[in-house]
């Protein structure tokens, strides 16, 4: 199903473009299908760039906005993820948790409640597990600019820095926490906070996937070599509402500055570099669209999750 992206012979650049395109297409369709879905359009470079250079045995904890493509990059099935969003049977979470969770056997830190910030703790614990086992596995954890103000941000960055844990914290800074603009709750760049823990703090253009990857590479190497955590602030822009059906009246009251579309930017760059033609890009996008459409069609007809998944026996104890 993911043929367009996974197809052999595609250049690295085209593969990345393919994942970003797939995310965009999927997002659009999910927004149409579920008014409560959280759109990620415009944030693909930050999302994909943060996770695309990891090993399969590394752990990931993805921000709730836009994680599905990340899970697919690791091998999760689009249909099962879509089932979660549509409330259909077949989801990894059996319709129990919030729909932006992913399968744990792919080393994914699951979303088990909607409370922001706690995933930073569990992600930090994944890095701790790797240090305990003496391996060179690492964890990458993304979170929003609003989430960066939860106490857990502070406690975990400090703990990770104190213990030199192999983890990279990435703030997917899209300028908003629902209806509140970042300037109202972030007096300084998030990256500035790194100085408080004596770890690298790096701001990067989050709509330039190459820039995100370059910044990540250094942080990933640092973590893998046992030199501890880093904090990266990927500046991006929430192109749509907080949720799909968000009327966004607040946007007139708090006007913001749009950023260029990361998909367009990256496509243009591939063309400039001579890595791809406009047709190549169109073809990838079409393929992504088709894959999404057929998945949606298949999932739509599935029954809703229901009492059968209540799982009274799947609670401990």
């Amino acid at each position: 199903m993911l043929a367009p992206v996974e197809a052999k012979g595609l250049s690295e650049g085209l593969r990345l473009y393919g994942w970003m395109a797939l995310s965009r297409e999927l997002d659009e369709v999910l927004c149409a299908a579920n008014p409560r879905w959280f759109p990620s359009a415009g944030e693909e470079a930050a999302m994909v760039g943060a996770f695309c250079d990891l090993r399969p045995d590394d752990a990931i904890a993805a921000h709730y906005r836009g994680p599905l493509v990340i899970y697919m990059m690791r091998g999760a099935e689009m249909a099962r993820l879509v089932a979660q969003v549509l409330g259909k049977v077949g989801g990894y979470n059996k319709g129990r948790s919030v729909p932006f969770t992913g399968p744990v056997d792919l080393k994914i830190v699951p979303w088990v409640a909607g409370d922001l910030g706690t995933s930073l703790g569990v992600a930090t614990g994944a890095a701790l597990a790797f240090q305990q086992e003496g391996s060179d596995r690492i964890c990458v954890c993304t979170f929003g600019d609003g989430t960066a103000n939860r106490g857990d941000f502070h406690e975990n960055l400090n703990l990770a820095a104190s213990w030199r844990l192999p983890i990279v914290y990435v703030c997917q800074h899209n300028g908003w926490a629902i209806s509140q603009p970042a300037k109202d709750y972030l007096p300084a760049p998030v990256a500035n906070r790194a100085a408080g823990y004596a770890i690298p703090g790096l701001e990067v253009d989050g709509n330039d996937v190459d820039a995100v990857r370059r910044t990540m590479m250094g942080a990933i190497a640092r973590a893998r070599e046992g030199n501890g955590p880093s904090l990266i602030e990927a500046r991006t822009w929430r192109a749509k509402g907080h949720w799909a059906a968000d009327p966004q009246d607040y946007r007139a009251i708090h006007p913001d500055t749009p950023m260029a579309d990361p998909l367009v930017r990256y496509g243009d760059r591939l063309i400039q570099r001579g890595e791809a033609s406009a047709t190549d890009l169109d073809r990838l996008r079409d393929a992504a669209r088709a894959a999404v459409a057929s998945t949606l069609e298949a999932v739509r007809v599935l029954p809703d999750t229901g009492e059968a998944e209540l799982g009274l026996d799947e609670v401990h104890p």
């Binding site: 939860r150 009246d249 607040y250 998944e309 209540l310």
Partner: protein, 320 residues
């Protein structure tokens, strides 16, 4: 709930010390439109938008209260109360007592729980707070009570936790008096009289009980429904008086059964008069799973059918 907003607006007009702290309570008018109109009327200094920092929000409200203000702090959903838990537990309920009775902390913590149109964040942790001396804990079930109890909460000189059952925002519009009025914190209310079984219902479970009562009446089983309204302090007298009449007891709430407020209701009866019970009590609540966010959720939560079946069972179990 519009009734709650009205109570807040009236209080803010009356008393300049009343102000509001929350997330998305300004330009967006609140989660589930829960602060509609307030920001326009009172502006950003009295309707304060906070960072995603629940612990600081509650701490700031407590400190502001200690120093002469009368804040209302909104935690968008009850599921986020744990993020502020040490302020909510080790500070709020202790301040008055631990200072030898000198500190006053007029704070209202407003939050949303349970199932409802939004669907997310359904966990209901209200029972924890009913366990803790120093808190008043209310969960109104009707728009009139929501307004009257919010007014009472704002006027109270100590911390009050105000839970809004999310499913109630669906509720049929009932006429709510326009002026400020207080519904006292503490007394439960007989929502329906009936001779056969007392159903103690909490918040959003009240409409379920009412529906069940209608159905059961046709079978000749008359439920007496007690709308609990306040989880702490518990109206033990009202509970006992009703059970003395009906001699049978069912409790129903959206929170989990084990350790839920239903257990306290039951215990309050058998501490006084176990002999009045002529049938085993039945407690209805969320299934013993973390309440699912997905479409499994309704299957984990109480409904009218549960109450109907429970009532039939307690009637059958009668030994008298």
């Amino acid at each position: 709930m519009e009734a709650v907003i009205e109570a807040i607006a009236v209080a803010m007009r009356e008393d300049p010390r009343v102000f509001y702290i929350g997330q998305d309570v300004g330009a967006m008018q609140g989660s589930m439109q829960g602060t509609k109109g307030l920001w326009e009327e009172f502006g950003p200094m009295r309707i304060r938008e906070a960072p995603i920092s629940e612990s600081a929000m509650v701490g700031a409200a407590l400190g502001a209260a200690l120093f002469g203000q009368r804040p209302i702090v909104e935690i968008s959903f009850g599921e986020f109360l744990p993020a502020a838990m040490n302020q909510l537990i080790n500070q709020a309920p202790n301040l008055h007592y631990m200072t030898g009775g000198t500190a006053r902390v007029p704070v209202v913590v407003r939050t949303r729980v349970g199932d409802g149109p939004y669907g997310g964040h359904p966990q209901d942790y209200s029972a924890w707070f009913a366990h803790v001396p120093g808190w008043k804990v209310v969960m109104p079930a009707t728009p009139v009570d929501a307004k009257g109890m919010m007014t009472a909460a704002i006027r109270d000189d100590g911390p009050v936790l105000f839970f809004e059952g999310m499913s109630l925002s669906h509720a049929a519009r009932a006429p709510v008096p326009l002026d400020a009025f207080e519904t006292p914190i503490g007394p439960a209310r007989i929502a329906r009289e009936g001779r056969d079984v007392t159903v103690v219902a909490v918040g959003s479970s009240l409409p379920l009980a009412v529906r069940a009562a209608g159905e059961l009446a046709a079978e000749g089983i008359e439920l007496e429904i007690l709308d609990l309204r306040t989880l702490r302090p518990l109206d033990r007298d009202a509970i006992l008086a009703s059970v003395r009449r009906t001699r049978r007891l069912i409790t129903v709430h959206e929170a989990w059964v084990a350790g839920g407020i239903g257990a306290e209701v039951v215990a309050s009866v058998v501490e006084e008069a176990p002999e009045v019970l002529v049938a085993p009590v039945i407690r209805i609540g969320a299934a013993a799973v973390p309440v699912p966010s997905g479409k499994v959720r309704p299957h984990a939560l109480p409904n009218a059918r549960h109450i109907v079946e429970a009532a039939r069972r307690v009637m059958a179990g009668t030994r008298a």
